[in-house]
């Protein structure tokens, strides 16, 4: 008889144990401070120019606005600035103009939404099948108004809307003094602004549509969905992040888009009917030379838009479907 015993086969040696067992350590000793700085610094150095520009042109003026909003000052360098604390805010909140301008801003936003969401979605869906050279021509045509300087566009529209010789009245067979009537002035501003931005919005929606995997629509068709069902149940929901982006842009920026038009065409009139938030702020600062009041208005709008933007961004986050 032969005696023996089973012996467990040893597993491969692990590197940590090998090191403990006294084998040479491949990791060098911790480098000197200078070497560590050199290793860590590059990404920050790349960021530096952008950060410097942001601080100089955005954050510093922002901070100065906060400071300025607590002073009374008429923008003349030789006049001393008087510290009034929250006086500017009290004055601002007690003027009836503020509430009216907020309401007008809401009207402008609601009026421009069809141009940035409704019309672009319809146009992009209908022209999806345009291909080749026709596609390029068509996109250029739609985008062209965006390239026209707002002030130049405004000048042309002023002629078109002229009450006596304007093309608009002739085409519509009306006799309206578009820019000098309280109701139609706001409407004109909205439509002209919409005309400017609609091409951009169509491009954004077209890009959004192109980003949707065509397999979804194909699968839905094979699953039995009609063309309108595919649009309602698949395409539009998948497009919703793009639409949320456009809504966000509209809410935050449409009052700014109207500014050059208002300043050229109506100067906030007639009887303040086109004075929205931004125009009001500008009037305080550069018509009334009330720098403190304008700064206080700026600060309030800034905070207000932060809240609106935060809400809309959260909404957009919830709408986005991570398509993979």
């Amino acid at each position: 008889m032969v005696s023996g015993a089973f012996v467990e086969v040893a597993p491969p040696v692990r590197s940590r144990e090998a090191r403990a067992a006294g084998m040479p350590d491949t990791v060098p000793a911790s480098p000197a401070l200078w070497q560590r700085v050199r290793r860590i610094a590059p990404p920050y150095l790349y960021l530096l120019p952008a950060v410097v520009l942001l601080v100089v042109w955005t954050y510093q003026p922002l901070a100065q606005t906060f400071v300025l909003s607590t002073y009374s000052w008429n923008l003349v360098p030789s006049t001393p600035m008087v510290d009034v604390g929250l006086g500017n805010y009290e004055r601002l909140l007690s003027t009836p103009e503020l509430g009216r301008s907020v309401w007008r801003t809401v009207v402008v936003i609601l009026g421009i939404l069809p141009f940035t969401v409704g019309i672009p979605v319809a146009v992009a869906l209908l022209t999806r099948r345009v291909r080749g050279r026709a596609q390029g021509v068509y996109r250029a045509l739609v985008f062209a108004p965006m390239l026209v300087a707002p002030v130049a566009g405004a000048a042309v529209w002023q002629w078109l809307l002229d009450p006596s010789a304007g093309a608009v009245n002739r085409v519509l067979g009306t006799d309206v003094n578009w820019l000098n009537t309280a109701g139609t002035a706001q409407l004109s501003i909205i439509v002209i602004t919409g005309w400017h931005v609609v091409g951009f919005a169509v491009l954004v929606v077209t890009a959004g549509l192109a980003g949707i995997n065509p397999d979804y629509a194909a699968a839905a068709q094979v699953d039995g969905a009609s063309r309108s069902q595919v649009t309602r149940w698949i395409t539009l929901p998948l497009l919703s992040p793009t639409l949320a982006f456009l809504v966000l842009m509209t809410v935050l920026l449409s009052a700014q888009w109207t500014f050059p038009l208002i300043d050229t065409l109506t100067q906030g009139g007639p009887v303040g009917s086109t004075t929205n938030l931004y125009y009001l702020l500008w009037e305080y600062g550069f018509r009334s030379h009330d720098a403190g009041l304008a700064a206080a208005a700026g600060v309030l709008f800034f905070l207000g838009f932060i809240v609106v933007a935060a809400l809309l961004t959260r909404l957009a986050e919830r709408l986005s479907h991570h398509d993979d």
């Binding site: 995997n213 979804y216 194909a218 068709q221 149940w233 479907h321 991570h322």
Partner: protein, 363 residues
Amino acid sequence: MSRIQLQGLTRRFGAVTAVDDIGLDVADGEFLVLLGPSGCGKSTLLRMIAGLLPPSEGRLWLDDTEITHLPPQRRDVAMVFQSYALYPHLSVARNIGFPLRTRKRPRAEIKAKVAEVAATLGLTDLLDRKPRELSGGQRQRVALGRALVRDPGAFLMDEPLSNLDAKLRAGTRAEIAGLHRRLRATTVYVTHDQVEAMTMATRIALLNEGRLEQLGTPSEVYDAPASVFAATFLGSPAMNVVDTTVRAVDGTLVAEAEGLRLSLGIDADIPDRPVRLGVRPEHLTLTSAGGQGIRAVVTAVENLGSEEVAHCDTGVSVRGPRPLGVVPGEAVTLSARPEHLHLFDHDSGRRLAWQAASVPQPV
């Protein structure tokens, strides 16, 4: 369940003919695999059957209905996409129920049917999840569920397993095959994977450059490849194909080339003819050097675990149980039985079959 017929189906993209004059008759309950390398037109063909791509020429029938010009939503077929195409904004339940929703079925019926399908596929616990919260295998099941939820005339599957890892693929392969056995559903399945084709198909349609290369059961296609392409596409490693000349020696036919002499086992007398000789690696046996066969020198030996493959300098490879007992550098002679030799025309590459002039004789 339905029969699918294709007649002269052709699709051109500009100057390129992706699918060239394909005629197929897929019987009711059949599992037809469209097999071929990438770019052979198999997916294009499937998309034409689904109605997602109009054919340039040809006609299509589902049972007795011509569907050539019907839009996809009016064809009674369900399709599983390679990407699965699960609607990312809808839950698993709504994804599976989608085909019923488009048919405006009552909500209760949809719910019951979805629950039933989910139970078959083991998806019951996942019904409220969104596709992005699922693993690859689970997504694949949901895609399958969406096809199963209505009883379509036929299932179309476009490489449904190509996004799964090897282990999951083997499991899902068996599952799809089992599903087909149970439902007896007419299925057209696109793949470039010969293992999927061999294991799942009732018939394989082998495509090459848009044309139908061979149509037959997996055994037919493997045992009697119709062309050099079919011979080398199936099998791993691929069939050895060597240029030889068939000539009569002492009243029997042999294939001859430099360092090669194999008997074809046919007693006949014909003038010399150049042919391409094919023999599968597993049908070659190692014999002692000096005998009749293929003389070669081993250049490398691959260990596959249960088997070994020896690659030789002439481009020929041998496959057999491990150990083969050869080492690189060794001179060997390989022989094969006549019934394992395939002959192909030297120019066209089509299979050659022996036909005796008077008395019929087996190849």
